[in-house]
C-alpha cells in the first residue's frame, strides 16, 4: 500500500478501494447481552438477512474482521476483554455500538458494575440506540457505516491516528 501511505492516492482509485471495502465487510459480532439476540436475528435470520448488504457475519477470529458490533452491556469485568479483542483487529477497523447499554449504560446507568458506554474503552463509529434496537435499526447503522466508508479518504486515515468519534 505504498500509494496509500504516501498520501497521493488518486480520487478514482480511492473510490474503487472504498467501494470494494464497503461491500465486503467482515463483522465480528460481540454478543454480550440481550442485543446479541437481535443481532443474531439480523445476521442469522432469513427475514433480515444482513448478507444482502455485503456484510459477512461470523469470521473465525477478530483478526479477520473489519468491524465489530458491540451488542449489549459491557461490564467492568468484561471491558479488558473487549479492548483486547478490538486491539487484535487489523486496521482500518470500525465499531458499531449497539443498544443503550453499550452506548451509555442504558437502564444500568447507576449500576456499580457496568461500564457506562463502550466508548470509554474503544472508539465508536456508529451508535445504534434502543433497548434492544430492532434488527432494522442495526441494519440502518450498518448502512450508515458503509456510507462513511464510501466517503472516507484512505490516505487521510492511514496517515495518522484512527478516526475517533467523540
Amino acid at each position: 500500500m505504498g500509494l496509500v501511505e504516501s498520501g497521493k492516492l488518486p480520487k478514482p482509485l480511492t473510490k474503487i478501494l472504498n467501494m470494494s471495502r464497503r461491500y465486503s465487510m467482515w463483522v465480528y459480532q460481540w454478543g454480550l447481552a440481550c442485543c446479541a439476540i437481535e443481532m443474531g436475528a439480523a445476521f442469522a435470520s432469513p427475514r433480515y438477512d444482513v448478507m444482502r448488504l455485503g456484510v459477512i457475519p461470523l469470521p473465525a477470529s477478530p483478526r479477520q474482521a473489519d468491524f465489530l458490533v458491540v451488542s449489549g452491556t459491557v461490564t467492568d469485568k468484561m471491558a479488558p476483554a473487549v479492548r483486547r479483542l478490538w486491539e487484535q483487529m487489523p486496521d482500518p477497523k470500525y465499531v458499531i455500538s449497539m443498544g443503550s447499554c453499550a452506548n451509555c449504560g442504558g437502564p444500568y446507568w447507576d449500576s456499580y458494575s457496568v461500564t457506562k458506554g463502550v466508548d470509554q474503552i474503544i472508539p465508536v463509529d456508529v451508535y445504534v440506540p434502543g433497548c434492544p434496537p430492532r434488527p432494522e435499526a442495526l441494519l440502518e447503522g450498518i448502512v450508515l457505516l458503509q456510507e462513511r466508508i464510501m466517503n472516507e479518504d484512505m490516505a487521510e486515515r492511514w496517515k495518522g491516528d484512527p478516526i475517533v468519534v467523540e
Binding site: A41, A44, R47, T75, R84, P107, Y108, Y112, R134
Partner: protein, 390 residues
C-alpha cells in the same frame, strides 16, 4: 491510545493474572484450556477454564460475573413499577416470564389479586415467551454440535411468536407489560385468531426440528450418553426446569406449586426422560415446546371476559413484609424473595435464577469428558448469561 512500554507490560501482566483462576487448575502438569469469555458456545460471556490431559478434561471451572449488572442492588433504588423494566432483562429470551414472579410476589404482599382475565392472559404470554425462548435453544443446540441450518429455521419461526408478543405488549423482547394487579392493556382485536395460526406454525417447527435434528445420526452420536446427570446428583446441585426433568425427576412448579396462574384449569402434561444425558435434555425441551403449543390453544379458547386490572392505588406502596414466589420459567425455577418495609422501593430483592444453579453442576459434569463434549454439554444445559450473573 498511546501507551508506554511499561504500561503495556502491566496490561499484559494483568491479563495473565486474570487468566490464572484456580489453584487446582494451575498446579499440576497438563494443558489449561481457556474457553471464553467471548466464545460462541457460551451464549455470550461465560468463561470456562479447563485443565486437560490430552483430550480429556481433568477439571473444569466456570467463571461467572462477566455479565453481572447488579440487579439486586438496583432494585433497591427503583420503585415497584420500575423494577419490571429491569428484571425483564435477566432472561432476555423469555422476558415476560421474568416479570410474572416478581409481580405475583408484590401482589401477595399487597393482598391484591389480578382479575381472572388478566391471569389467563398472563399465563398465555408466559407460555408464548417459553416458546420464544426454547425455540432458539432447539436451533442453537444443533449449531453447537455442528449443524448450522436449524438456527436459521429457529430464527425464522421465532419471529412469528415475537410478532404476537409485540402486538400485545409493544415490545419484541422486553414487554414490561405486567402490572401489580393486572396487565397494562387488553388483547388487540383479531389477536386470538392470529395466535392460533402461529401456534400451528410452531407445531410444524417442532416437527421440523424433530426430523432435522433429533433423528440425525451425528446429533445422536454427539449427545447420547454424554453428560449424564443422575437424578440424585441433579437434585443435590439444585437443578431445575427441563434439566431436572430430563434426569427423570417429575418436578414442575407449574403443576406442584402454582401461584396466581391458571395452569390448574387447563389440561397438560409434564414431560420427563429417564436418561439424563444431553439428548434427553433436548428431547424434553422439544416436547415442552409442543406442550406449550397445546396449552396456548386451550388458553386461547378459554379466556374469560372481564376487567384487566384490579383496584390498586395510583402510587404503589407495598406493605411491610416478606414474600417468595417462584414460577417455572423456560430455564427452570425463577423466584423473587421480596423484603418490603412499606416504602416505594423494595428493601431487598433476592433473585433466584435458574441458570445460576444449573451452571453450578458444570465442574462435576465436565470432569472426565472429551473436549468437544464440553460444547454439547454446555449447550444442552442451556443457560442464559443474564440469568446466571444477573
Amino acid at each position: 491510545m498511546v501507551t508506554t512500554e511499561s504500561e503495556q507490560m502491566a496490561y499484559i501482566a494483568a491479563q495473565a493474572a486474570d487468566a490464572r483462576v484456580n489453584v487446582e487448575v494451575e498446579t499440576d502438569e497438563g494443558m489449561t484450556l481457556n474457553l471464553g469469555p467471548q466464545h460462541p458456545a457460551t451464549h455470550g460471556t461465560l468463561r470456562i477454564v479447563a485443565k486437560l490431559d490430552g483430550e480429556m478434561v481433568e477439571a473444569a471451572e466456570p467463571i461467572m460475573g462477566y455479565m453481572h449488572r447488579g440487579y439486586e442492588k438496583l432494585t433497591e433504588v427503583r420503585t415497584y413499577p420500575q423494577v419490571t423494566t429491569l428484571i425483564n432483562r435477566i432472561d432476555w429470551l423469555g422476558s415476560f416470564a421474568n416479570e410474572v414472579p416478581f409481580i405475583l410476589a408484590a401482589e401477595q404482599l399487597m393482598e391484591v389479586e389480578a382479575p381472572p382475565r388478566a391471569q389467563w392472559i398472563r399465563t398465555l404470554l408466559f407460555e408464548l415467551s417459553r416458546i420464544a425462548n426454547i425455540s432458539l435453544f432447539l436451533g442453537d443446540m444443533a449449531v453447537q454440535v455442528g449443524a448450522t441450518t436449524p438456527v436459521f429455521y429457529a430464527f425464522r419461526d421465532r419471529e412469528f411468536v415475537l410478532n404476537q408478543i409485540e402486538r400485545v405488549t409493544g415490545g419484541r423482547f422486553h414487554p414490561n407489560f405486567d402490572r401489580i394487579g393486572g396487565l397494562k392493556d387488553d388483547l388487540p382485536k383479531g389477536w386470538i385468531e392470529e395466535t392460533g395460526s402461529v401456534v400451528n406454525k410452531m407445531r410444524d417447527f417442532c416437527d421440523e426440528m424433530e426430523e432435522l435434528v433429533l433423528g440425525n445420526e451425528i446429533f445422536q452420536a454427539r449427545t447420547r450418553e454424554i453428560g449424564v446427570i443422575p437424578p440424585d446428583v441433579a437434585l443435590a446441585y439444585g437443578l431445575s426446569g427441563a434439566n431436572l426433568r430430563a434426569s427423570g425427576v417429575d418436578w414442575d412448579i407449574r403443576r406442584d406449586a402454582n401461584v396466581g396462574l391458571v395452569y390448574d384449569q387447563i389440561d397438560w402434561k409434564v414431560w420427563t426422560h429417564p436418561d439424563g444425558d444431553s439428548f434427553s435434555r433436548f428431547w424434553v425441551r422439544l416436547q415442552e415446546t409442543r406442550e406449550a403449543c397445546n396449552m396456548i390453544e386451550q388458553l386461547l379458547d378459554g379466556i374469560p371476559s372481564g376487567p384487566i386490572m384490579a383496584k390498586v392505588p395510583r402510587i404503589i406502596k407495598v406493605p411491610a413484609g416478606e414474600a417468595y414466589v417462584a414460577t417455572e420459567n423456560p430455564l427452570g425455577e425463577m423466584g423473587y424473595y421480596i423484603v418490603s418495609q412499606g416504602e416505594l422501593t423494595p428493601f431487598r430483592v433476592k433473585i433466584r435464577s435458574a441458570s445460576f444453579s444449573n451452571m453450578s453442576i458444570t465442574p462435576w459434569l465436565l470432569k472426565g469428558v472429551f473436549v468437544p463434549d464440553i460444547i454439547s454439554i454446555l449447550a444442552s444445559l442451556y443457560f442464559i448469561l443474564g440469568d446466571i450473573d444477573r
